[in-house]
């Protein structure tokens, strides 16, 4: 140790706070479940019955990828990961709002449900709440 005086908290921290610790542990776990649910489900659907509802299944697959990126980048939590997480969660927020709104306005266009249909009503509206929590957490740990 050198003989310099103690620096304030904000300066002696090497980087931003980790996003995968504390409350972030639970957040990553929830994101992980959605990553698994959306990806696995769409993989099965695309493999076995793609012709039935290609749009819904591709949308589910896209949502799954967004959730995977969010999960991994929140768990890693470096500077780049943090940027990636912000992007993924922003896409997630837009996705759930647009798909949710569209499925309410044009229900006949969404005969097969996705994670984001009806603002995630099939999943207890967790998909709607999750991006807000994720963005709040990224701000909070900055």
């Amino acid at each position: 140790m050198s003989d310099t005086v103690d620096l304030p908290d904000t300066v002696d921290r090497p980087g931003p706070a980790p996003t995968g610790q504390g409350f972030g542990r639970l957040l990553v776990a929830v994101y992980g479940v959605f990553a698994l649910a959306a990806t696995a489900r769409s993989a099965v659907q695309i493999a076995t019955q793609f012709d039935e509802a290609p749009l819904a299944y591709l949308l589910s697959a896209f949502a799954g990828i967004v959730y995977i990126v969010a999960t991994v980048s929140l768990a890693r939590g470096g500077v780049t990961s943090r940027r990636l997480a912000t992007m993924a969660i922003s896409v997630e927020l837009v996705g759930v709002l647009v798909v949710g709104g569209a499925s309410r306005l044009f229900p006949e266009a969404f005969p097969h449900a996705t994670v984001w249909t009806g603002f995630g009503s099939g999943y207890g509206f967790v998909p709607l709440v999750l991006p807000f929590v994720g963005l709040w957490w990224l701000r909070h740990t900055r």
Binding site: R25, A29, G32, A40, V44, T48, A113
Partner: protein
């Protein structure tokens, strides 16, 4: 797949979730006894997977078989992955991750039963 075995898994998972939430409330780390109880649940989930596949092979009714096995495997995978993820976090949040995993079990069992019951979009 609507038998008492699935109900037993649901009840035990909910009891373990309650136990874990008490630990969270008391701010106590999960101990070896919780881990052992989780091991019992995990053994039951192995039985659920094997029993489910045996029943599936012996049945000729129409349902999404790939999805069915997927959900059974998901049931099996969640508790150990959650435990590993939670173990490095020695705080309330870490314990909450374990409680969350136990709370997912009834949902997963329900999905298994829904897929078994037939096509549901």
């Amino acid at each position: 797949m609507t038998g008492s075995y699935a109900t037993a898994i649901t009840v035990i998972a909910l009891m373990l979730a309650a136990w874990t939430l008490v630990l969270v409330a008391m701010n106590r780390p999960p101990g070896i006894s919780l881990l052992a109880a989780g091991g019992v649940l995990e053994a039951m989930l192995v039985g659920f997977l094997v029993g489910g596949i045996v029943q599936m092979v012996g049945s000729d009714h129409q349902f999404a078989r790939v999805e069915f096995v997927g959900y059974l495997l998901g049931c099996l995978a969640i508790p150990p992955i959650a435990t590993m993820w939670a173990w490095e976090e020695k705080s309330r949040s870490g314990t909450l991750v374990i409680a969350f995993a136990f709370l997912l079990m009834p949902v997963m069992v329900l999905r298994v039963q829904q897929v078994w019951a037939g096509p549901l979009v």
